[in-house]
């Protein structure tokens, strides 16, 4: 089986992947918008256009917003596997797999609490989510 894809990292997103390597989920946030987070990273706010943005560490908590159970092949994956969209506590959505959870509708309950973890792919750490330990976030 071939290896899972690793991201092509660009200058504007380097901090995100460096953060993941250090076990942190980092987001950009806009100062004029009151510290509102946005995703994916870019050096300006997609709501107001300001370049006055910061890097902030996400809580790592989120909920299962939507998903598919993918039966199609993908390098390094063994179908069926879950592809999800996670709603972070900070109000932004991101794609993830759901680790430590069967790829079955009965186990994938919309809005269930999730927590971040990191999957090592060579030199790159990829943010991933799994059911939150201890139930409710």
């Amino acid at each position: 089986m071939s290896e899972r894809q690793t991201p092509t990292i660009y200058p504007e997103t380097r901090f995100y992947w460096d953060g993941a390597k250090a076990g942190k989920l980092l987001l950009n946030a806009c100062t004029p918008c009151g510290g509102k987070a946005y995703f994916p990273p870019r050096p300006f706010c997609p709501t107001c256009g300001s370049r006055d943005v910061t890097v902030t560490e996400a809580s790592g908590r989120g909920t299962l917003h939507s998903y598919i159970i993918n039966h199609l092949p993908a390098p390094g994956y063994e179908p069926p596997f879950t592809v999800a969209v996670v709603m972070l506590e900070e109000g932004v959505k991101m794609v993830s797999n759901i680790l430590d959870c069967p790829a079955e509708p009965e186990a994938l309950i919309l809005d269930m609490p999730l927590e971040v973890t990191f999957e090592q792919r060579g030199d790159v750490a990829v943010p991933q989510f799994r059911p939150a330990k201890g139930g409710a976030a």
């Binding site: 092509t8 997103t13 598919i68 159970i69 794609v95 509708p105």
Partner: protein
Amino acid sequence: MSRAEIAIVGAAETTQLGKVPELSQTGLHADAALNAMADCGLTPADIDGVATGGHDVAEIIQYLGITPTWYDGTSVGGCSFITLVRHAAAAIQQGLCTTVLITHGESGRSNNRSHRPIFPSMQQQEFESIYGPLVPPSRFTLPVMRKMKDDGLTEEQLAMVAVVQREWAGFHPRATMRDPITVDDVLSSKMIAYPFRLMMCCLVSDGGGALILTSAERAKDFPTKPVYLRGTGGESAEGPMISQMESFSSSKAFRVSGKAAFDSAGITHADVDHLMIYDAFAHLPVYGLEDLGFVGRGEGGAFIAEGNTRPGGKLPLNTNGGGLSYMHSGMYGMYALQEAVRQMRGTSPAQVEGAKLSVVHGVGGMFSAAATVVMTTEDAW
């Protein structure tokens, strides 16, 4: 009273549809273009505007031997051709050209081509593809579980989209899939990306189509029955990362594009005799019906399941069978346009009796872009 300013005078699909291993992608463009020119009695020397999506427009110009004063290569996925209809209309109205050829060709099945037609997106690859959703069936379907929970859409309703469209395809000798199917057939077909099964996903075909547009004034000199544009149509885009849609239950691009088309045409939903909504997957007609305002939010699935869009229903929808049953080359928008032109000419094998106004709405990429146009048989309203 408003008068029509732009008309579609030439329209044709490729000679063969479905499996066309004997032609390259460029060849499919050319076959469709030559058929459309023959339809209205023109040659390449009569064309001064050329537009295409997902393919280098300059290659089409050179291959066909055209000397244009205007071109457009807008490539936002399958609705590009619907977008290009309104761009071409604007160009003709501005005097940038007089006679526009819009071509589509795609060797989706045989893969006789040098490149895939949709540009890769940098951030989509960096933040979505790495988790395994690499192809449309595992990307376009991502929002749907959310919609099912929030709006009550069911798997049976999604299955009914495929069932009803197969009924329409049964009228079309050129449709790839024509045998009737049941909800059980759909729900027992192969699982692709839960909750989506094979029969809820579009075909993968070879084919093409072309349109020729000119001023409504000149249209009367052509041998074909003119199909007039009403209003400016609409377009919008939300972007290639489906995870970043503002809402998973409604497409902002659909809403903005649809509203512009309806407002500029000065029509209400009751004026629409015939409707095409690009259906790469079974949920798209549901989103389209809701986001264009034909039904309320959360009512699209039931509206189709109750039979309103089937033959004999009050709102004939996707009367060629759509991407699910007619054909789907990859960028299906051209075939939605072709069926609307046939309906306005009165020549569709699934002709809606007395249809005078058709709305064509398309999606580009995975909810990335949208475009809408309104066609009519009437030169004034």
